[in-house]
Subunit: 433 residues, 2 copies
């Protein structure tokens, strides 16, 4: 845990500190030469000749709801026609994970997938019906729903199609498009089990239908065991109301399971003895195997990882020979907690252990890093491989394809590889034996 000091950190007193001082090299770490005091005196940013240092800034009332710096205008969600399925409503906008930091994605950049566009729901007209095999069926207003005792948890949401274009080989030379069908947030809402303690679930109930109130009426069926484990109805994301594209005012959250199951603009939960076999769980979100049969009722996003820096968006073309550079990535598992990440420089033949950074939480993004000394002219094949406490490890592409073939769009969690060329460009490649 980053927020707890390690014993090693605690033991650094000032004497130890001065002993360690100068063990690193400025040129290697910051990639710069020391500047003379003359150079300092010439630097406008230091000598107060900057435009921003000589005039009033904006009043605090200028943006009572703040926005990013104009210099960050390139950091956005993105879409391409390749992902648009004919229009930009039944579509996706993906997260710039190469620009991500820590394990929180700001709400403005949280990936968005909808089947009929972003609905704008009036919270005063909003209703949630809970019915079927419950003792006391109910219709709740938003205010009534929020009266239940709330919980807050940090979880990723991932589209099961994340990386699903890549079965036959790299389609996007971009980590945002290849792996950005996901994001992570702090969610606030109520456990459905808390509501069911109130309403009384009938013992014969085995399945729950969740249905959206938007024009697409997204419907998915969830096993009751998951509902009674950690399923939530959420209204808060990163400390404020859900955004419209995340289902404002209320969505379902099934931690670690397919994003499309986390039904947005949620209007109805119904309990029954059998699954519903809705359109979006038969014609879609099933995996066609080489045998011609499809896998149904498999919901968890399995253990996965990616390098985010370097990446096609963050090349090493400016790195000098001998530079010390932090290789960073994300790991996640819908089945538990990340226990480790390995990193390979030769496309998966040999691995070294990477370091987990910051908070390590179940069914949450986990950030990892490895300090590397860059040798100019080397060609590298960077591959990461994550493990979780459910006992799983990411497969190779060969292993995954041998079981699933190349027609299954969903649940692709094989390792990914970035090629770092001799000149420091980074390309998405696929390593097969």
């Amino acid at each position: 845990m980053d927020n707890k000091k390690s014993k090693e950190e605690q033991s650094i007193d000032r004497r130890d500190f001065f002993r360690k001082t100068a063990a690193m090299s400025v040129t290697a770490l910051a990639g710069t030469s020391l500047l003379s005091s003359n150079a300092m005196a010439d630097d406008p940013a230091i000598m107060n000749h900057t435009a921003w240092g000589q005039k009033w800034g904006d009043p605090v009332t200028a943006n009572l709801y703040g926005v990013p710096s104009a210099y960050e205008h390139n950091v956005t969600r993105r879409n391409t026609k390749l992902l648009a399925s004919g229009n930009f409503r039944a579509s996706i906008a993906v997260t710039p994970i190469h620009e991500s930091q820590g394990i929180i994605t700001p709400n403005g950049l949280f990936f968005s997938r909808s089947h009929g566009g972003t609905a704008h729901v009036d919270p005063n007209e909003y209703r949630l019906m809970i019915h079927g095999l419950v003792e006391k069926p109910i219709v709740l207003t938003l205010a009534q729903l929020k009266r239940y005792p709330s919980v807050t948890r940090t979880h990723f949401i991932e589209c099961p199609a994340n990386g699903g274009q890549e079965w036959r080989g790299p389609q996007f030379n971009s980590v945002q498009f290849a792996k950005g069908f996901m994001a992570s947030a702090e969610w606030t809402g109520v456990y459905i089990k808390t509501i069911l303690e109130d309403l009384g679930l009938k013992p014969e109930a085995q399945w729950m239908l969740a249905e959206g109130s938007d024009n697409s009426k997204m419907g998915r069926t969830v096993p009751v065991d998951k509902v009674l484990d950690d399923a939530m109805i959420v209204w808060g994301q990163n400390g404020e109301a859900l955004r419209p594209e995340q289902g404002y005012p209320v969505r379902l959250l099934l931690p670690g399971w397919e994003g499309n199951l986390c039904v947005k603009w949620l209007r109805r939960l119904e309990f029954a003895t059998e699954p519903w076999y809705c359109k979006e769980e038969t014609s879609k979100y099933t995996d066609l195997k080489p045998t011609g049969k499809a896998i149904q009722h498999f919901y968890a996003n399995e253990v996965n990882s990616t390098v985010v820096s370097p990446s096609p968006e963050i090349p090493w073309t400016d790195l000098e020979d001998g530079a010390v550079v932090e290789i960073e990535g994300l790991a996640w598992s819908g089945m538990g907690t990340i226990t480790g990440v390995d990193l390979s420089f030769d496309g998966g033949k040999n691995y070294v252990e990477a370091k987990l950074k910051g908070l390590v939480l179940p069914k949450s993004w986990t950030r990892w890093s490895f300090m590397h000394t860059y040798k100019k002219g080397d060609r590298l094949l960077l591959t990461s491989r994550a493990m979780d406490d459910a006992g799983y490890i990411q497969p190779t592409i060969d292993e995954e394809v041998s079981i699933m073939g190349v027609e299954a769009v969903y649940h692709r969690n094989a390792v990914e590889t970035w090629e770092v060329t001799k000149t420091g460009e980074v390309n998405h490649v696929q390593i097969r034996s």
Copy 2:
């Protein structure tokens, strides 16, 4: 930790669950009556007669950087002329903590205090100079700074004047204005000790000057022990670049210490043997005692807490007699980790123990709650009192005033009280013996 299942949670299997079912009452918890199936059939939100259920939503490309629902337009930072010191540049915009959830404040709502307005810094022109008693003084570009190995940690930042209007009695009948000079975020940057290992701090260095590059040239001096403990230079906030009003591209972060020490638009760190005695640490940000002498060099925001719901902004006027309602609050300490929160219904005479909710991290917001059965017609005096692992507990107002008098603007951490009137309105009151 909320993200770890308690033993109790783990032991709930389905059989246990059905046994517990119906132990709560719908009318008490959700504050509603059960609706008949006729009522369901009449409800437009259930029967799909809503405006948003019958038309296309927005394309995913409509907001590539997303914004809140228009229905949330009242959830903003706020300012009043009372806090504006003559203009809205040397001023503050405070966080709607009554609308907060979890321990992350979205960047758009993070409280903002500046001494010359919000500077708009060009990241390409940005420079950071580190000099004085270091072996290797340096000027870094932003890219060079970001080459250092990064860390991510969750911390609050609080203005030491939070609640400082209240020494003589309540000034604002509002939790946002009385206690919202703070917010909490996940910060990404580099420990200054990491940079100093590289540059070589000279053993005689005892103090560090931090100076901003905006027009106010905010300057504060920091003891080297804090610098070598957990001081950070940060460029990331909740997974994206700092916002302009938080010091884009770079600010200082001294976890748990006064917000004004966390210098924004940071341009310079200088190390020396003596403190600087800058304007903002002599004429301001010192505490005038009844003796006429002022306290200097006291930096930590001490253990503190507040009830956020109910509050003047969230009254109980709609609650029915017998309703079960969650009383929620925040606790925080700049000296360590929150170990407990007590809640009083009689203004501090008697206390019961509240429950800590979710992640409990050092120098971070900690959320707490207490389930309460509301009795219509009762008058309550809600007072919370937090404790930390540094061994401190919030004082009463009498205790604090007896030591500090009523002229000290800063570091007021005495308990606060909300009066819940017989009709459910909530007022900010002060309880003195």
